[in-house]
């Protein structure tokens, strides 16, 4: 067989190549750098992410399969890649100061961020389970390390261990599921499954395979009962990494989940629809109820992120291809509000004293009105208050459910948002109506955090008031399912 490597297709994966190249380059440079000048690495990371973003935008009009179908370029992938890169840029901007403050000595911080992002990008732009698996593992392995990057911190170490063990455990489910699917169909391409299923050939092995793949993704997007790592890992990880995980990993995994299930398994919607319905309800309710009693704000946000996964799942279970744009919209809005919220959480802390207790936020409005204002915007958006993007996102998701006939699911979702409002607004109440309980010292109002917060606020307000453009983009993205 004479197969030539398609060299000319390389340009089409320029963003991935840039990230990979810069990741390796940074590892090399790091060796020669003095410990003081870590921000140089950060700037280089920004440069690489920025240029990758430019390429993603340039290539966004392409829609083609590359490398013998192992990789693809399409609107869904491009939009998600763009989102992930923007998220990376925001995280890197806030890391510039955060890394300096926490005196991270290991230089792998930025390269690992790049590799992890690369993994996400690979994952979201493939229709082949092999590539998806590789991307997923690249993303996860980098994050296992990033979580435990503060080597002397007991909590970080424990979070790292938990995430690693459970992540590997979930990967085993995923791989086994892929193996079973391969066994029953002989294909690794998700379009291949569609053909088999369309023929009505649904063996037990295939069904178990589908279920196990669902379990693997459910772990990454933290659906109850596969969520238990989330609060612990989110709490233990460095806060910038928490933001990275909450926004990036979840978006990438959700998009891949969406792609796999909506491309291949839609004919089986009746079957998995029910089970996901149940998962959505359990996820929303469990996460919101548990979040009510959290005192640690990172933990609270972790439960909130689980709950948001539940909301998104509400739109997911409908199996309506057209309406799945609401999922994309939600992910985008969710990314910005979470990154923003975590940037405020970072802002509140100092080296060795993170001030994660909700009591630390009491009376914040008087001492630092700007921080209080930013956090209020993010929390309101998470609550789903108009005119912020969080509201439109919830609106689209629930209206999707209603249009598809899942009225009860939408009602449960709305009731859950009401419960959720309690713990979001509680923080706002603490900030504005409580007297300070404890001394939290001077806050480091570095421009890097302010910039991130302002970008996120702008975005949330803009897309909240004028949701049309983003919605059109999202509709373009999900057009790949037709």
């Amino acid at each position: 067989m004479d197969v030539k490597f398609p060299v000319d297709e390389l340009i089409l994966i320029a963003p991935e190549i840039i990230l990979c190249g810069f990741g390796l380059l940074l590892l090399l440079i790091e060796v020669f750098l003095k410990t003081k000048s870590k921000s140089f690495l950060g700037i280089l990371t920004l440069v690489s992410a920025g240029s990758a973003l430019v390429f993603v935008l340039k290539l966004s009009s392409f829609s083609t399969d590359l490398f013998f179908g192992l990789y693809s370029l399409d609107s869904l992938g491009s939009l998600t890649k763009g989102l992930i890169l923007v998220m990376l840029i925001l995280v890197v901007i806030m890391s510039l100061r955060y890394v300096e403050r926490e005196e991270v000595i290991s230089g792998e911080y930025y390269p690992l961020l790049l590799f992890s992002t690369l993994g996400m990008m690979i994952m979201v732009s493939s229709k082949n389970l092999l590539t998806i698996f590789v991307g997923l593992e690249l993303m996860s392995l980098s994050i296992y390390i990033l979580v435990g990057l503060f080597r002397d911190n007991l909590k970080a170490a424990e979070a790292s261990l938990k995430y690693f063990l459970l992540g590997a455990f979930a990967s085993a489910f995923l791989v086994y599921g892929i193996a079973l699917l391969y066994g029953s169909t002989g294909s690794l391409d998700i379009k291949g499954y569609l053909e088999v299923i369309a023929k009505g050939d649904t063996s037990t092995v295939l069904i178990i395979g589908v279920a196990l793949i669902a379990v693997g993704f459910a772990f990454k997007i933290a659906l109850v009962p596969f969520h238990m790592w989330t609060p612990d890992v989110y709490e233990g990880a460095p806060t910038s990494i928490t933001a990275f995980m909450a926004a990036g990993v979840k978006s990438a995994a959700f998009v891949t989940f969406l792609r796999v299930f909506y491309t291949a398994f839609l004919p089986l919607i009746k079957q998995w629809g029910d089970i996901l319905w149940l998962l959505a309800v359990i996820t929303m309710s469990y996460a919101n109820l548990t979040a009510l009693v959290q005192q640690n704000i990172k933990r609270m946000l972790a439960y909130s992120s689980i709950a948001h996964a539940g909301y998104i799942l509400v739109a997911f279970v409908t199996g309506e291809k057209i309406l799945s744009s609401s999922i994309i919209y939600y992910l985008v809005a969710y990314t910005f509000m979470n990154v923003g919220a975590f940037s405020c959480v970072i802002l509140m802390g100092r080296k060795g004293e993170e001030n994660l207790d909700i009591d630390s936020y009491a009376g914040l409005s008087a001492r630092h009105p700007f921080v209080a204002f930013c956090l209020t915007i993010f929390l309101l958006s998470l609550t789903g208050v108009p005119p912020l993007a969080g509201f439109m996102a919830k609106f689209y998701v629930f209206s999707t459910a209603i249009k598809a006939g899942y009225v009860w699911l939408a009602i449960i979702g709305v009731l859950n948002s009401v419960v959720a409002a309690y713990y979001y607004l509680r923080v706002i109440m603490y900030m504005y109506f409580r007297d300070p309980v404890k001394e939290i010292g001077r806050i480091d109002l570095s421009p890097s955090y302010i910039l991130v917060s302002l970008i996120c606020i702008f975005f949330l307000i803009y897309t909240g008031i004028l949701p049309r453009e983003l919605m059109l983009l999202a509709e373009g993205a999900v057009s790949v399912f037709f």
Binding site: L161, K162, L165, L166, F169, A170, F173, T202, T204, I207, I208, V210, A211, L212, A214, V215, A218, F219, V224, P225, F226, M228, W229, P231, D232, L268, K270, Q271, W272, D274, I275, L279, Y286, L289, T290, A291, L292, V293, Q294, V419, Y422, L466, R468
Partner: protein
């Protein structure tokens, strides 16, 4: 230029932002320039557009421009878009023109106020909202303006919020307006839904007009009635007029701009804008005209017995607004708008004149403590006199043309037109009487000033008198654009507005007798002269006559002086009962029952959360176990579901 219609409301918005965000740090001069120029630019834009419109053929005089999509939901799209046609351009010119003069006047009037920049911020916001209201090309955007001017009105009435009476008046205005707005909003909903079920989801005026025939008669009547309820709130008609007299707590230029010249006419504008709906509901038009004329007479009679000059003017405004409603109610939309315009000139002038008097007398409002001011305030005096003549309907001044036009059209109105005409005519006489009572008491006769005030009575600065003079000129010549055919004029104003009211204007041609028309004019002039003469006799020639009269009819006088106790009746009927219901709802329903349930649920949820958190034991193997259980459930369920 027609591409840039949005610039008209845009300028005041910019002024609002500059003054609102930076006003406290900017010097006063900059604040004044920003405030005045922004409105002036709007005026210039409006004027340019006006001449552009004139160049077009009468039928083509509609320029619509959508700026961006605002709300998109299924088939329904509402855009932020503007519409310039003869009706809206007239409103734009009046709002920005009179608005500009009042801004300039305010520079002098508010000069020493500590809230100077706040004042101009609100005032610019008001002009912005008002321009949005009159240029919007759909009901929803119009409603934004409608609510926006309501907000500004509230803010400006309560401008001196340290004063209890001012902040209460603000609240009263806001709440009473809410009642009307509620009607307006329900009307919008009803219109939207009833057209929507016929397949036309739209709120755009042109599209509404095209599709209005889809509506059934009864629905149209209900919708227009609801809109009229909205109009009675904003334009201070029976039964919702009670807020306007109290609104005089605000700074006087505000009363001139918002509560006389522009905002309160929004209801008239709205009805004129929706003329195609109203023409389909003749019963409602009759109600509009009736309410209008009754309000006109009722308010005029209250004006007899007030001593506070601003309150007299307030009742006069209500009364004149009644005339405008008579105009639009009898289908003479052009006449209504004509009176709206001339009224804007002379009523703004009257208020600014009153402001000038207050300025001279250190805030004195009671006409019993004035008199003989003519020699101290010459400019204020003659401009005030012009305005009084105009409002009284003396031939040659603007008020004469517009008021007579309305009365004439009312006379021709087939449903009880003569009755409306007679009430209107009597009211015209009453108007002349109480306006001249005000004039004589203030500027003529014996000086009744307090001693210490007397020392520094002074004419106002140029920045205040020049707007007065310009408005006085406008009050005279403003009517010449609409001289009726009967007097050899060209009725240009009516012709200009005709395209907007095409096909719906009153068919006024039947027994159009020149003799009758001129006869009626002469009659109304005579009535006005009688009013003036009576005022002259009672208040200038033999002042003791009026005192005797008051003593003789003390009960009647007290009733009128206390505004027929309407406030008290409303208080007894509605406010007290509502408060009682409110207290019941709060104490029993809300605090005991609802709060009980909600709090109970809240505690329950928290308790549940507290239990659930123990599942999160911290042991990684427990987590793995939960995953395995989950996986078994998922796999098992799918197997059961797929393989029977």
């Amino acid at each position: 230029m027609s591409e840039y219609i949005w610039l008209i409301p845009c300028f005041p918005a910019v002024g609002f932002l500059i003054n609102g965000l930076l006003g406290k740090k900017l010097p006063k001069a900059v604040v004044s320039w920003v405030g005045c120029l922004s409105v002036f630019f709007s005026f210039v834009c409006s004027a340019v557009l006006f001449f552009e419109l004139l160049r077009l053929a009468p039928e083509a005089r509609i320029i619509e421009k959508d700026v961006f999509d605002w709300i998109v939901s299924g088939e329904f799209v509402t855009r932020v878009g503007f519409r310039i046609d003869p009706l809206s351009i007239v409103m734009c010119l009046v709002v920005s023109g009179v608005g500009f003069l009042i801004h300039v006047y305010s520079v002098g009037y508010m000069h020493d106020d500590p809230g100077y920049s706040r004042y101009f911020t609100y005032l610019n916001l008001f002009v912005f909202m008002m321009l949005i209201l009159v240029t919007a090309n759909n009901l929803l955007l119009m409603f934004v303006g409608w609510e926006g001017v309501g907000l500004c009105s509230y803010l400006l009435i309560g401008f001196w919020f340290e004063k209890d009476s001012a902040s209460n008046a603000g609240k009263k205005a806001f709440i009473v307006n809410r009642i009307g707005d509620y009607g307006f909003l329900v009307g919008i909903f009803l219109l939207f839904v009833s057209l929507g079920t016929k397949g036309v989801w739209t709120l755009n005026f042109s599209e509404l007009e095209r599709n209005a025939n889809l509506l059934s008669e009864s629905l149209t009547a209900l919708i227009t009635l609801l809109f009229f309820i909205g109009a009675t709130g904003k334009s201070a008609q029976i039964p919702l007029y009670v807020w306007l007299p109290d609104a005089m707590e605000g700074p006087t230029p505000v009363s001139a701009l918002i509560h006389a010249a522009t905002m309160v006419t929004a209801g008239v504008y709205m009805i004129a804008r929706l003329n195609f709906l109203y023409s389909m509901a003749p019963e409602i038009m009759f109600i509009v005209a009736l309410v209008g004329v009754l309000t006109a007479m009722f308010a005029a009679s209250i004006g007899f017995a007030q001593y506070d000059i601003k309150r007299v003017l307030a009742y006069s405004t209500i009364s004149q607004l009644g005339y405008m409603f008579v105009g639009v109610g009898v289908g003479a939309y052009a006449a209504g708008i004509f009176h709206l315009m001339t009224h804007a000139f002379f009523k703004a002038l009257l208020f600014l004149g009153a402001g000038s008097v207050m300025h001279a007398l250190a805030g004195e409002l009671d006409m019993r403590k004035m008199g003989g001011l003519k020699k101290y305030l010459p400019t204020t005096h003659w401009t005030f006199l012009v305005a009084c003549l105009a409002i009284a309907g003396i031939p040659g001044l603007s008020g004469f043309f517009s008021k007579d036009e309305i009365l004439w059209k009312a006379f021709l109105f087939p449903h009880a037109g003569v009755l409306i005409y007679i009430i209107g005519l009597v009211t015209a006489g009453m108007t002349a009487f109480y306006m001249f009572r005000l004039l004589f008491n203030t500027f003529y006769g014996k000086e009744r000033l307090d001693e210490e005030v007397k020392h520094h009575v002074h004419e106002s600065p140029k920045v205040m008198t020049i707007p007065l003079i310009i408005l006085a000129i406008l009050s005279i010549v403003g009517g010449y654009v609409g001289i009726p055919h009967a007097l050899g004029g060209g009725a240009h104003f009516e012709k200009f507005l005709e395209p907007v009211f095409r096909g719906v204007s009153q068919k006024a041609d039947y027994h159009h007798s020149l003799v009758v028309e001129i006869g009626l004019m002469v009659l109304s002039v005579i009535v006005a002269l009688i009013g003036i003469y009576v005022a002259y006799v009672y208040f200038l020639k033999k002042p003791d006559l009026s005192e005797k009269f008051v003593k003789k009819h003390e009960k009647l006088y007290k009733t009128v002086h206390n505004k027929y106790f309407v406030d008290e009746i409303y208080g007894f009927l509605f406010v007290d009962n509502l408060l009682r219901v409110g207290r019941f709802l709060k104490n029993v329903i809300d605090e005991a029952i609802i709060d009980g349930i909600v709090n109970g649920l809240g505690y329950f949820m928290r308790g549940l959360g507290g239990i659930l958190r123990f599942l999160q034991s911290g042991y990684v193997q427990a987590y793995a176990f939960s995953m395995i259980v989950g996986a078994i459930v998922v796999v098992g369920y799918l197997l059961v579901k797929v393989i029977p």
